[in-house]
Each structure stands twice: as structure tokens, then as C-alpha cells.
Amino acid sequence: MNAVVKELEEFRTEVASWLQANKPADPGFLLPQSFMEVGSDEQLDFLREWQHKVWNAGYLGMAWPREYGGQEVDPLYQSIADQEMRRQAVPICFNVIGLGWAGPLINDIGTEEEKARYLKGILSAEDIWCQGFSEPDHGSDLGNARTRAERDGEHYRINGTKIWTTLGNYAKYMILLARTNPEAQRKYDGLSFFLAPMDVDGVDTRPIRKLTGEYGFTETFFTDARIPADCLMGEEGEGWKIAMKTLQYERGAEAGAAGGLAFVRIVIDDLLKELSTVKRAGKALTQDPLMRDQLVQLIMEEKAISLGDKRAAIPALTNDFPFALPLSHKLRWTEYTRRMRQFAINAQGGDGALYVGDERARAGGFWQRAYLNSFSATIGGGTSQIQANIVAEHVLGLPK
């Protein structure tokens, strides 16, 4: 084993034991399955404390510069820390728009001043960030954003409405996509990108209740809200380009994200564990031949996706359609997840009709809530229908 590998393995052991020792106990209230579900103050306080603790221990933003709260080590360390957090199923690091979108962006193209002002607060969870891209009338159609930003001396005056603002009611800053030039020839060229403060007059948020019954998103209304002109990132008209840039950080620490878990990963092993105690016709459910066949199909589907992730790294085995595996991943994983969770409810028999809040609901209604939440992934970030178009056009070359 060479020295680097050895050091990484030692690091893994170190993180693992730290997590073991510091993983918080069940707080007695519902914890979010993703950063899109923080709906109460107690949830927020809990998650803020946890993220702060992870950062303090040195396991968040590890590849970011030292002076801004990072440690300037190789992103591999962060990836290992993330893996261990997933393995031990610790709570999420909830400030995801900061950690995974705004932060890496500022690191990449921000000014020194911007870095100094924003980065450390993102990691420490002191400054919560939200995202202002989608608008009520143009769900999947970002290029059509209508929210206006008009230059007015040393300020921009913002008017319009954003929707699906995660943590909108808690956020200090928003990454905001707004139209500075409604007359631009290409609609994309009229958009600009702002690091906008939320605590100014004229910004109001209305919590959106989700189909789960929980909160976590807001609608955000701008009514002549004035934000300082230096909130503009890059130049006017570069908004679309910068917004698209934020999407690349999804690929994790290697791509610049600060790390931490953004959501609770639910896999087939969780399902099998849950169903091991369910009875059907007096026998173990997992002995029913039809159930077995469906479980085998689910296992195969999840395994195929895992294997695909491995194969994607082997050019000789991906030259048919080189972009097939990466571009179809979201579609495949989120649709699989939705079906797997739906199956998990059905398979519970009578218990499947229970919900969060029932003391006898299996795993506290985990699966029911997870199924309903699964639509945030099959709808958000481009619906499955749009994902299928993307794969058809960009992988298979089918016409628009």
C-alpha cells in the first residue's frame, strides 16, 4: 500500500470514529430526509448545530481555502468524509445551496471580497442560503424568468416572484436569477446573477406546504426590493451562463462542492430490512413468490445503476453512446426510487395506510413520507419527462 493510500485509509478510520462518537441521538422529532424539508425551528436549530459541529471537526469544506474556513486539502478527503457520513447515516448538512451551489461558485469566479464575505458563513451554517431560479409560471422553463432587476444608482430594484425557494424563510442570502434587460435579442442574454440579501425591505416569503404536509419551500415576493449594486455577480447579461455553471457542482467535492450529506439515501437494503418483519397470509412476506420476483427486479435495477456508475469510468465500454450513463443517471435513479418507495408502502399490508405521527407506523411512516417526497426528485431539476427528452436528444441524437 503506498503512502497516499495509507494516509487516506487512516483518514477514513478517523472520520468514522469521530462520527461514531458524535452522531447525534434521535431528537424525538422528525428529521428532514433532505434539505428541502426543513419546516420547523427545532429542525433548523438541530441541523445548524450538527453542520457547525461537522465543520468544526474539520470534515466540511475540506478542499476550500484555509482563510475562508477550509483546509486546502485534496478533495479526495472530502469525498471520503462524505462516504462515511452516508455509511453511518448521520443527519444531513442542510445548508446545501450554500455548500453545493453558491459556495463553489464564489470560490470559482467570485472576487476576494465576495469570498471573504460569504464563504466561512456558509460552512459554519451561520449564513443560510437559498436559491431563486424558478418562477411560478415557468416551472421547467428557466430562460423565461421574468423577475426584473433594474439598476437604480447604487442599487438594483427587484420586482417579481420566485418559487420553490428552499429554506427561503430562514435564508440570509439568495442566489438570484433576474432579468436586467427585457429587450435583449436572445432571452438568455437579458438575465443577470445576484448574491442577494434577503433581509431588505420588499422581500417577503410565504411558506409552501408540501404534499407530505410538511414545509420546507417558500414562495418569495420582491416588491421594489433594493439590493446593493455590488451584489451583481460577473457582468449584467451573464446570468444564464453563471446559473448553468452552478449545476456542475452537483458532481460532488471533486467538482468543488463543500461536501456533507444533502439528503438521506434510501436503498434496497433499507427496504429488505423493513420488509423482513412483514407477514402475508401468516407467513413471511419475503417468502411470497410474487413479492420475491418484484424484489429481485428492484435489486437488479439498483444494481444496474451501481454497475453503470462503475462502467462509466471505463472508456472502452462506453464508446457506443459516451454520454448515456451520466445523462440518464438522474432519470433512472429518481424513477427507480419512486417505484421502490411506492412498492415499500404496498408491501406493508395494512400498515401501508398509516402515516407519520402514528405510533405503530413502520419506521415512523418513513416510507410513506419518502414516497411522497420522491416527487421532488422526479419533478425538481427537470421533470422525468424533460430528462427523457434530454437523453433522447443529447445521447441518441433524436430531433427536438
Partner: protein, 373 residues
Amino acid sequence: MSVLGNTAINFDDEQAMLLEYATNFCDAIGVGEIRARLEEPQPYPADTWQQIVELGWPGIGIPEELGGSGIGISAAVPVIESMGKVLLGTPLMSSLLTAQLVLRADREAGESLVAAIAGGSIGTVAALESEDWATSAIAARVDANGQLSGAKRFVANGLAAQWIIAVVTDEHGNLALAVIDASGVPATNYRELSLIDLTQRAVDMSLDGLTATQVLRGPAVEVALRDYRLLGALFVAADATGAAASCLRIVVDYLTTRKQFDKLIGSYQALKHPSVEILNQVESSRSFIYHAATLVDAETLDRQAEVACRMAKAKATDTLAFAGDRAVQFHGGMGFTWDCDAQLYIRHAQWAQQQFGDAQHHRQALAPLLLDD
């Protein structure tokens, strides 16, 4: 003889009038009134039950001499389908099933109870003891003095019911039905459930310390229970068919008004063709429930009626599950909100799937009826 067996659908003018009346009655209430009461103790308007009683619907399937309507139990299908359309979760289904169970188990002994139900007293059946609706094992007991013990789960409308029929085994180990007067049940015996479907109400219930006011016994109990389960399956199928049809309506409404990329989204085949699939499944469900309705008015349900009830349940609740799931998805971001009605249907679907056994369970029960001689 074809494996398709009997394929009759009869629906006379009287039934057509009832369907039309029930549709109008339920539409006049509307989903909005239900939505406003999701988190209240009673998930439907205060005067609705009284109106239902005045319409005589709790007397469906009950002979006139017992205060019933004198019409067959099949008449429940159009009524329940109409209620399903607006997710009207009244105890009607529970009451009707209670009366059917008692009538079929021991008409004579059950006369006064059935008459009370026909008159508007709410009844329910406490049959299940675990999440396993496919088991036939019953652990709850009644002793020779009518003393009850054990626990029941998923008792529909348990808090609203005045009469609860608990399925038990008696001191000889035989199946029996214990009639419980709810007025004598301590509140601590009930535990109200948090259901995924907020248009429905149910409890878990301890029988310990309770005494049956009456115990129905005899060989007819087992057949009566079988018929109760089949009729229950049919009723939930009817409800789910109505709900799925409404769900399709809201999808179509959205697809014909919402624009994306400057086109009405209903013009995209990715939404259009699955909507046709929902339609076709709703149409199948509707054919199955009215076919079953055609066959269930006999004194005990025969093999063809059993096949029909099971097919109805197997098709209709899968249809609703598919419709509800697609309704959320096709509403995009809106679909992910509490305010979008799609959530009502996707939640109702999870509930409906679990009442009286899921689709797979009924297909497994159909296999020997269809494939073995």
C-alpha cells in the same frame, strides 16, 4: 365455456336514476368541502350523514321489513362510486358492510341491529388484528359469558360507530361475531390512527374488558365473513373507480390550461399518452364494478360473483394508485404542494390499496378460480 365466464352488465332505469342522484348529491358537496375538513375529527360536512340517512342509503341491501330500502346491495355501487369521486369518507360503507355481515351470519338474531343501521345508527366491523389482511387466523376471544379479549386493528370509522362487530373465536374455537355497543366502550380502548389518507378515519382497538351485547354463532358466520370481505373489496373498488375518474379530470384540466415552453402541456405525448392509459384503466375498473354489481344480489355470493368482486378490486385500486401517482407528477411543481388536489388522490390510493387486500392478493385468489378445475 370461456374462462371469461359471465360477462353480463345489467343496469336498469331505477339504478340509473340512483346513480344520477348520487352523483349530483356528492358533486354538490364537492372536494373543496372535504379538503377543508382533512384535519378535523369528522372528514365531511356536519349535516351530510343526516342527509344520507334521510335518503335511505344505509338501508340499501336491507329488507323492507327490517326498515331497509328493499333494494339489493348492488345499489351501493353507484352510490359509493359517486362518493369516491369527491372523496366523501362517510361511514356509509362501514354501516352497509356491518348490516350485510349480520344479515348473512344470523338474520334472526341480528334483526334489531340491522334495523338500527337501516335507521342511521353507524356500524363497523372489527376484523383485522395485524397488517396481514391475508391471514385467516383470529386471536381475539369471546368467552361463554360474552367477555371479550384481544385487540383489533384498522377498524374503519371506529370512533363514529355506535355498533362494532368484532370477529372472534368462541370458547369452542369457532368463529363468532361479537356485537359491541360502543356506548359502553371506554375511550382508552381506542387509539385513533394517523392515516396517510386524511379523508378517512380508523382506530386500533383493544377488546380487553369489553362485554358483547350479543354473540352470533353458527356455520353461517364463516360464509358471511367471506361475503363481507368480497363486498368490502367491491365497495372499495367502486370508491376507487370514482376517485380515479376525478383524478383523471384534474389531470385533464391541468393539461388543457397549463402552458410550458409556450405550448399547452396537454399537447406533449409524454403526458397525453399516459393520460389515455389512465382513462383506459378507469374504463376497465368501471366495467368491472358494474359487472360485479350485476352479480351480487344473490343470497350468498357464487363463484362468478367472487371472481367479479376480486377482479374489480384488483383493477380499481391499482388504477387509482397509477392515476394518483401520475397526477402528482404531471402537475409538476404544483403537484408537490398540499394545495394541489393531486395529493388527495395519491394518498387515498395508498389507503384504498390496503382495504380488503391489495391487487396482488386478489389476483392470487383469482388464480385457482380461473385456472384450476
